[in-house]
């Protein structure tokens, strides 16, 4: 009977395609928009990934990495003085403007790191050598800057090329592979001292102190010690996790969730996907069931149980769900490939997204089937004789 149910479904080509289209649309919208949202949220913590350190020490009221209240230079020494700290280094992080040789200006994310230890240097340097950062005017740029800071569109910045930051020369000595920043500006590394020269002077210039615990002491314990002894806020840098209020990534993401319209905007789109999916699928499937009501009535009169008929409807609804979900996810993958290759727009699909979307699609299909089941359960087999 289930085979016949599928033949009934596939035989009504127009309705079948409409049903599948509804599910494809819902799947694509929910999966793609969730992934773009997660990608965008991942960008908000790009500095934490590009400047890797077990601990980030910031001013006590700071909640997210892109908006730091400056510290005094002496705070580095205060952090170093905590017993459980193995090492600590200064970090300068700010948005500056680079002036290209053709006179145009571009936004950059300047990172100043300790010139002795290079703590906070990019993880993966594709070209050049980190030690060249000690040379005069030396900077390391990321792969986005290779295109973004080029004088002519289509051309690429090479090692040895120069540009200006705040009227001072910057010479490219390395190119790093990085995660793109939330602000869209490319990352530019230099030494902490030189970063202070590039940046407009302020009374306090230290953005954060990065640190690591001594061997045998947990990061969490070390963070508590730093907070207790310095009055500063010490965050861990272990990656986003729900409920991890010690982690800077988590704190940063939640700050954006609470203080920007981003989740609302994406949430609305995901909700539209869900609502449209329900509306199209339920309405089309219900009309499919109504159209086949006389046949279902005939089957019921001929001795098919209500359970069998319900199973047929569930088979039809979930078959549409599986096919639509598969195609929808394929469409999402087609969107993902160029997005990941070009790093625009942001795209990051956590492992949980596909099963959650699948669950929602099953819910939509179940709901659609339920409307039909409600009609079939109330269907009197005698109606088939009433013409």
């Amino acid at each position: 009977m289930l085979r016949l149910a599928l033949k009934m479904l596939f035989g009504d080509t127009a309705k079948f395609l409409m049903l599948v289209a509804g599910i494809v649309f819902a799947t694509f919208l929910m999966a793609q928009q969730s992934a773009v949202f997660c990608g965008l949220m991942s960008w908000t913590t790009a500095t934490l990934k590009n400047v890797p350190a077990p601990l980030w020490v910031v001013e006590a009221k700071v909640e997210q990495v892109n908006e730091t209240n400056p510290l005094l230079d002496t705070d580095v020494a205060r952090v170093r003085s905590v017993d459980s700290v193995a090492w600590a280094a200064p970090i300068y992080s700010n948005i500056l403007r680079a002036r290209l040789a053709n006179g145009s200006f571009k936004i950059i994310q300047m990172i100043g790191i300790d010139a002795t230890t290079f703590a906070g240097a990019p993880v993966k340097i594709k070209e050049g050598n980190i030690h060249d950062l000690r040379l005069p005017h030396a900077v390391i740029i990321d792969d986005l800057a290779v295109k973004r800071l080029a004088e002519v569109r289509g051309k690429e910045v090479k090692l040895g090329d120069t540009f200006e930051i705040n009227d001072q020369e910057a010479r490219v000595v390395g190119i790093a592979d990085t995660v793109q920043s939330f602000t869209g500006g490319p990352y530019v590394w230099t030494t902490y001292e030189r970063a202070l020269q590039y940046a407009p002077p302020q009374r306090k210039m230290l953005s954060a102190v990065i640190a690591a615990p001594r061997e045998g002491i947990s990061e969490s314990q070390c963070a508590q010690d730093i907070a207790k002894e310095t009055g500063l806020k010490a965050y861990l840098n272990r990656g986003f996790a729900f409920g991890d209020d010690q982690d800077f990534n988590t704190s940063t993401v939640w700050w954006y969730v609470r203080n920007t319209g981003i989740p609302f905007s994406f949430g609305i789109t995901v909700a539209i996907g869900f609502i449209v999916g329900i509306a199209i699928s339920s309405q089309t499937f219900y009309s499919f069931v109504l159209e086949h009501m006389k046949h279902l009535g005939a089957l019921k009169a001929m001795g098919a149980s209500t359970w069998t008929l319900c199973l047929m409807l569930l088979t039809q609804a979930f078959t549409v769900g599986f096919i639509g979900y598969g195609i929808g996810l394929f469409c999402t993958a087609m969107f993902a490939f160029p997005a990941l290759k070009n790093e625009q727009p942001p795209f990051y699909m956590p492992e949980l997204v596909p099963p959650i979307v699948f669950g929602v699609i099953l819910f939509i299909c179940g709901l659609s089937a339920l409307l039909g089941i409600w009609r079939v359960a109330r269907l009197e087999p005698a109606m088939v004789f009433r013409g």
């Binding site: 085979r3 006389k294 046949h295 019921k300 009169a301 001929m302 098919a304 149980s305 005698a382 004789f385």
Partner: protein
């Protein structure tokens, strides 16, 4: 549910006593069947005739087990099984094994082939697709549609569709065949052809056929005609060589 085979000709296929059926409640309550007594015999083709709204289809639905009766009604026995005492599940199973249906609008599933449509009653019984389709092809051959097995109902004429419906009603060898206006959707020529074929393939000493019809052109195929009016059976006439159909029934509609 044990079935009692009706081996002897003229054994009773269905026995109805004091059957009442009403629809609606309170002031809008309408009594459609009033104290119906009827016997349907094996080996016979019995026709229920009468004007529109006289209760023929309601009576047919009750005998088919697809409609209940008023509380306090007498009895509805089909092959000695009391339909009124059956649970819904038993009733469903009984219909799937003992009754074949032919509907006025054929009710063939348009997206299935003739073979698939005919195999439906066997699939409902839980038979394998292979067995069901093999048997369906045999019956389609019997009704002269051996060359139309892979066609869909929409590719067939009205007469051919009704032959597919006949095949579907016979495929699981039921002992009672219920037909609701089987020729209403057919022209005179096709109606006669379908009835001739139906009589040929469906008539059997073990089987009863109950037909509700308006079509007086097919009365000649009946062994028994029960005329209804206003919810009652007003006349039952056994048609034999020595007892032909009287003139007033011949023109009954």
């Amino acid at each position: 549910m044990p079935d009692t085979p009706a081996k002897t000709p003229h054994a009773l296929a269905a026995r109805l006593r004091n059957v009442n059926k009403s629809f609606g409640d309170g002031g809008s309550r309408l009594q459609v069947l009033k104290s119906i007594d009827l016997d349907v015999r094996c080996g016979d083709i019995t026709m229920l005739v009468g004007p529109s709204g006289c209760g023929k289809t309601t009576l047919l639905s009750i005998i088919a087990g697809t409609l209940g009766v008023d509380p306090g009604s007498g009895e509805v026995k089909v092959f000695d099984q009391d339909l009124l005492k059956m649970s819904s599940r038993q009733n469903t199973k009984f219909r799937s094994t003992s009754i074949g249906f032919i509907f006025q609008a054929f009710n063939l599933i348009p997206t299935l082939t003739c073979t698939e449509n005919v195999s439906v009653p066997l699939l409902i019984q839980g038979k394998s697709t292979r067995h069901a389709e093999k048997r369906a092809r045999e019956v389609l051959d019997q009704v002269g549609l051996g060359d139309r097995m892979k066609h869909r109902p929409t590719q067939l004429s009205g007469g051919q569709q009704q032959r597919v419906a006949i095949a579907r009603a016979l495929v699981h060898e039921p002992r009672l065949i219920i037909c609701d206006e089987p020729t209403a959707a057919l022209d005179a020529k096709n109606g006669t052809l379908v009835m001739e074929l139906f009589e040929k393939v469906a008539r059997s000493p073990d089987r009863a056929v109950l037909i509700v019809t308006h079509d007086n052109r097919i009365f000649s195929h009946a062994d028994r005609i029960a005329a209804m009016d206003d919810g009652k059976i007003v006349e039952v006439h056994d048609v034999t060589g020595t007892n032909p159909l009287p003139e007033h029934l011949r023109h009954h509609e």
